[in-house]
Amino acid sequence: MMDLQIASQISSFLAALVLLTAFGMLVQKRVYGLIHLFAWQGLFLSLNTAVVGFVANKHHLYISSVLTLSLKVVLLPYILHVLINRLKIRKEVETVVNIPMTMMIGIALVIFSYHLTAPIRQLSTLITRSTLAVALATVMLGLLMMITRRHAVTQIIGFLALENGLFFAATSATYGMPLVVELGVALDVLIAAFIFGIFFFHIHTTFDSLDVEQMAKLKEEN
């Protein structure tokens, strides 16, 4: 019983770290640092999944933990590394508009997601119920990141962070989705990453930049 209690404390601690990395990504300016943060977030997520698997005694969660580890901590960051090395945007520093303001919006989103999940908290009996709010907040912060950034690579990282949040939500709300679904999602994410990579090359060769503002040129003249 004591073990369970400690495990659930560790789980909530890891949830806090996931939230922290989500905020870190929101304010990080360097692309390189962003990828590192993303990898860290994946690591915390996978650890958390393993811990939840231990607490809930669901063994398939161990598999999805390993899956997360290999995919989000190793493979995707590696792909992104290769990508930015090829595109020679390693040192690029992105100007993020008004970081303190973004932080405040982020805090508001956390409070909002807490408010949204409050009814579920009361209904649910799972040990992980309190991390649901964090999971939802991670999703929203990923979306916020996609909105506030202009660089295509940071947008894809935002998207991946959003996916992390969804995965986290599934873990904390229902002790994870069925394994088949998770495998499918993992495959989807992987394929999405490849497709994005291909698109980046095309965007880069067309506009000579990965600033998504450039896409505004594509609209019809009026």
Partner: protein
Amino acid sequence: MMDPLNLAGSAIFLLLGMAVLALLLGRRQRLLVVVSFAVSAVASLSATVAGVRVVGWSTTSQAIMSIGLPDLPFHLRLDPLAGFFITVVGILSFVVSIYSIGYVREISKQRPISRLVIFYALFLAGMFMVIIADDALFFLISWELMAAASYFLVLFEDERVENRRAAFLYMVVAHVGALAILLSFGVMSGLATGFEGFHGYTFDAMRQAEFPAVWATAAFLLAFFGFAAKAGVIPLHIWLPEAHPVAPSNISALMSGVMLKTAIYGIVRVTFDLIGVFPWWWGSIVLVFGLISAVMGVLYALMQHDLKRLLAYHSVENIGIILIGIGLSMIFRSFDFPLLSSLALIAGLYHTLNHAIFKGLLFMGAGAVLHASHERNMEEMGGLIHLMPWTAALFLVGSVSIAGLPPFNGFVSEWLTFQAFLLSPSLPSPLMKLLIPLGAALLALTAALAAACFVKAFGVTFLGHWRGHHQPHVQEVDWFMRSGMIIAALLCLALGVLPTVVIDWMDTVPEQLVGSRIGTTAGAFGWMWLTPVAPERASYSGPLVFLVTLSVIVIAYLLLHVRSGSITRVPLWDCGFEKVTPRMQYTATAFAMPIRRIFGFFFHIREQVKMNPQAPHRTVPGRMQYTLRIRDRFWGWLYRPLVDASFWLSRRVGRLQQGRIQAYLIYSFVTIIVLLLFLR
């Protein structure tokens, strides 16, 4: 022993009598100044005594005066709440009256002051009357007396265009507010008796009536709007930084220090006393507007370089802090936590008292500076501490108090407000538990920015060198003005060092309003320790903080002076820089620059640097010109469209003016027909 209500009543009659006397003494200006302000000091003091006694004894006395309209006599009542506000108004008007003897005597050398004296007396009388009024009619009459008298006081130096403009703006906002208050009372009295009788206009009837939720909300919102307009709550603050600086400084002290407090009184009276039962979100409205006013008020204050305007914006900030306390108290009350509610209410009311005194002190100090240097622009001042040592020291006391630093009084009330914030975990709603502590962070931001602002205000005005082009002949103000400020400064210290005594005294007010005292817990460990709720929860000992710091200072000083070397006075060093001129000092604008940049999106800033092309050499730039205009965003957001709309509307309405009698007859005829249709 006189009954407190009689005492307060006679103070009011004394003031009204003095207004008449001022008419008679019009020829003897110098005598008039001494007599009239001495009389108002006596009247204020007796009102204070009445207030202190009512609060201390927790008595309530009522009276009915059969003057006024037939069958609608005036009702008066002095309960602890009214007593507390009478005390606040009384103390400051006593101090300001003493100060005014010196201040107005100087003005009287330049212009006739009968008008100033008359309206000063009426203004004080109006404020006292508002507080002891116990029916809607008398309240509104007193309210208008107060507003009108202060309007004429703002207009005292009416030869300047900006004064007339400020007074007009003040009048407009005051009347919109008064209209809302009138409507609010109308709703309440209508519901109290039904719309047939008239007797619902007394506050007693409103107290006893039970209002349906919708109408109670309407009454509250109207009253809050009306009183907020008077208190200068953002976004209704727009008149305040215009009107306060242009009035004579003793009047600014009263307007900022106590006139705004009558609006706080109104809010407390209507919500806690007249309506009585309210949902939690009323409290959140008050809290949110309080927070906005506090933060925005201090940010705008930081951008000012007119000393009196700066102080006026600080009134907005402090009204915000008071409303935070009251809002928290309302929230706690609606969730039925009487003890916590009384703690928050005490915090708000304590800050009301504190703000009255330190803001009065600061405006008196600003008046002294203005009077001595004939300068309101801080950018032109500097180094006054050498020429006006008394004023400087007293202004410093006010600055430390308003910045919320121990052991002075501003700190105690802010500390209590923080404690009230930290009690929010008791609330049942999880969302409020999360959101309310964030308000504490905003309050901390406000306090820190206020400290920055007063480093700027005091530092630029009194320290360094004179920045203006030619140094005027400045000398210290006379003893009347000084003693007014000295009393206020001592009160600042006393209220900061002995909070337990004060809270013990004013504890009857929350007892009357929310049915709980905090004195039993606050004073549990003797008069030295202030321990709201429980001693292990939080404690503060003003006397010990003061004494320990003082003794360390004294010991250090004595130890170092046993074998002290002499002090050599030398020219400035400044890291070895040779030609230091006063123009190189940091200006007020420069001081606030980092904060202006960081919080830039709150202001409407227009910054321009012009380079003169005729440079002597291409590496040396010629003359540079820097212009900076900072404006209130609310003016553009809220008021400009409103003004435009009303002009547009009045032009449209103007077209009805045909000038032909037949047209007007048609209007009347159509009106009658429409009315007949509806009232068929």
